[in-house]
Amino acid sequence: MAKPLTKPKRKNPVLRTRAPMLPPAPRSRISLGLTSGAARGAFELQVCRDCGAVQYPPREACRECLSDRLDWTLQSGTGELVAHTTLRHAMENYFRERLPWRLGIVKLDGDGPHDAPSLIVHVHGDCAEPPARVRIRAMLDRAGQAVLLALPEKDTPHMSDDPQMRELTCDPKFRKVFVTDGKGPVGQAVVRAMIAAGSDLVWVGEAAPWKKIPGFEEIRALPEVTVVDLDVTNPDSVKRCAGQIGPKVDILVNTAEQHRAYSVGGRYGTENARAEMEINYFGLLRLAQEFGPVMMARGADTETNAVAWVNILSIFALANKPDQSTFSASKAAAHSLAQAMRAGMHRSGVRVINLYPGPLDVEWNQELRPPKVTPAALARSIVGALQGGAEDIYPGDVAKDWYERWRTDPKVLERELAHGE
């Protein structure tokens, strides 16, 4: 059973902060299909459309019939650990610094016409000696690429504290979290969820301190919370804040958001649209410039290293919702920037997690019909994402529905949205 993680000792300040090393990152284009699934939290393998054979490792042509019609297909992931070993020596620096490391071979369950494949996997410490029933999960590693992890068939106590598991997750437990805006309902829910998930210290940004927002004084009074001044529209404020707490942030959750609900013609002029861009896009850019480098430098800083940057985008970032036109556009801009942030930050092992929720149950969606994602549900999704191995999350039924339609054909979705869904 995994040893429960105890609060790590404070860092010895006379020792160098080690540079973040990454597990091997190169993958073939075909192999990135596995990453594509893992990024969404899905374990997918190619399945031959002609003979039904499940493929592993990813390949161009079916291992049984040489057909090239291979479709990435969700797998149940159950199987049997048939062999395992514990690595005690490695030439790869990433593993060398994290030894010992448990590896194994898992035979997937299968009822197809062909033999189910055997997988090379990382093995959770709580998996019994082979032969043992296990679950396979596809997760992103610190390099942002998919790896497979064998988990025990049933959850075990303190499972998430397993060192190998913790390398593949960004668990808030004993980590310091920065919630950039704690005043709104989403920010407040995120703060509470992070504390419930075991975060040691939650920095909470407060803009416009004169605004009395219900619930914020209760947030301020929580013992884990420290409120800091932050207005993401003000470069000087972002710089000051980063100077003050930047080296003490392991997980940044950007909850700062401007949201109005106007069609293109529904709000004359650009003042409102600019305000949305100023916070949703430029605010993110300012945060990325000030907090990004210091977090990247701490990608391997002891057991409570910098691990994740969380962006709350919107499913409207992928396809514009016409009656929230400018909000959608600002989220599309943020989505695009977040892709670049990912490209920059993966070198440090810091994971950029993007959430694309459906409409939230907040003031500016008052006129939308349910289903709407409550702030508490969104906060749970964030914690779930941090405790898991994915980077793209689609919370809520609307988001899942739109995402599938968008993957199938963005043009069809655009037309349907133009005609009111």
Partner: protein, 269 residues
């Protein structure tokens, strides 16, 4: 003395007989901005973005781009700002007569009242009492309401919001009508974020200072500071807004000249 009183004035300034007092708050991103209900259009706060700072963006130069609303920081309100002044001649920052940008000021000390009651309303009777002590308010002069509100350094107490909105002092309807209709003032100035009181949306009419002052083609000054350094009468203000085409107002540097007397030197002949 020379034949040119302007040169006397300049000499007075250089010899510190005339003090120049800055009534302006520093334009800073941290200075609070007027807060309107979220569904309304918003006036931008002051923001500063570096162009370069002797770095790869420009090795030899430090400079910034700034952005703000017309009604940001210490600022001037032109008559066109309010619906009551929208059709008046010369009602915008580019057409306000420059002669109106130099005018004497009367300072009405309401500091004690504002300290006791953030919602203090300056009344016409208060002004009449002030006149008994300091003399009649001259036509075409500024009336500045000193509340020491500018001494509230942190934005939260400066804004002073609760669930019912902002609580800051200002004039009541009768006071404004008295100043405009019976005293023909140049304008009204305040240390708070607006010339009207924080709760002035509940007065009749709402925002009476904006309504009557601008309806009469007169001006407003907001977010003033250092009013405690001015005498009740006798100072002269320089209040030139930026020449924004059809501007409704503008941030500006407000300077006051205060005559200190020739006490240390021979009196002028």
């Amino acid at each position: 003395m020379t034949a040119n009183p302007l040169l006397d004035m300049v000499r007075g300034i250089s010899e510190r007989k005339i003090r120049v007092i800055d009534l302006t708050q520093t334009l800073s991103p941290d200075f609070p901005q007027i807060e309107l209900p979220p569904e309304m259009g918003q006036c931008w706060p002051f923001r500063l973005e570096e162009v370069s700072r002797y770095d790869d963006r420009g090795l030899a130069a430090y400079w910034n781009n700034f952005s703000c609303g017309e009604h940001t920081g210490t600022h001037f309100d032109a008559p066109i700002h309010w619906v009551s002044g929208r059709n008046l001649p010369n009602n915008s920052t580019d057409t306000v007569p420059v002669e109106n940008m130099v005018a004497p000021a009367c300072v009405v000390d309401c500091a004690k009242h504002a300290e006791q009651n953030a919602d203090f309303l300056l009344s016409a009777d208060f002004l009449r009492n002030w006149e008994e002590e300091h003399g009649r308010i001259p036509p075409r002069s500024w009336v500045l309401m000193r509340t020491d509100w500018s001494k509230r350094q942190d934005p939260e107490s400066y804004q002073n919001f609760d669930e019912e909105g902002q609580h800051t002092p200002g004039p009541d309807t009768d006071a404004v009508r008295f100043l405009v209709e019976e005293r023909d003032v140049m304008g009204f100035g305040s240390e708070c974020i607006g010339t009207d009181a924080g709760q002035a949306m509940h007065l009749r009419p709402p925002y009476p200072c904006h309504y009557y002052i601008h309806g009469a083609g007169r001006y407003g000054l907001q977010c003033l500071t250092n009013l405690d350094l001015l005498p009740p009468t006798g100072s002269v203000l320089f209040t030139a807004p930026l020449k924004i085409k059809q501007g409704s107002g503008s941030p500006l540097r407000v300077l006051a000249l205060v005559w200190e007397g020739w006490a240390d030197s021979p009196a002028p002949v």
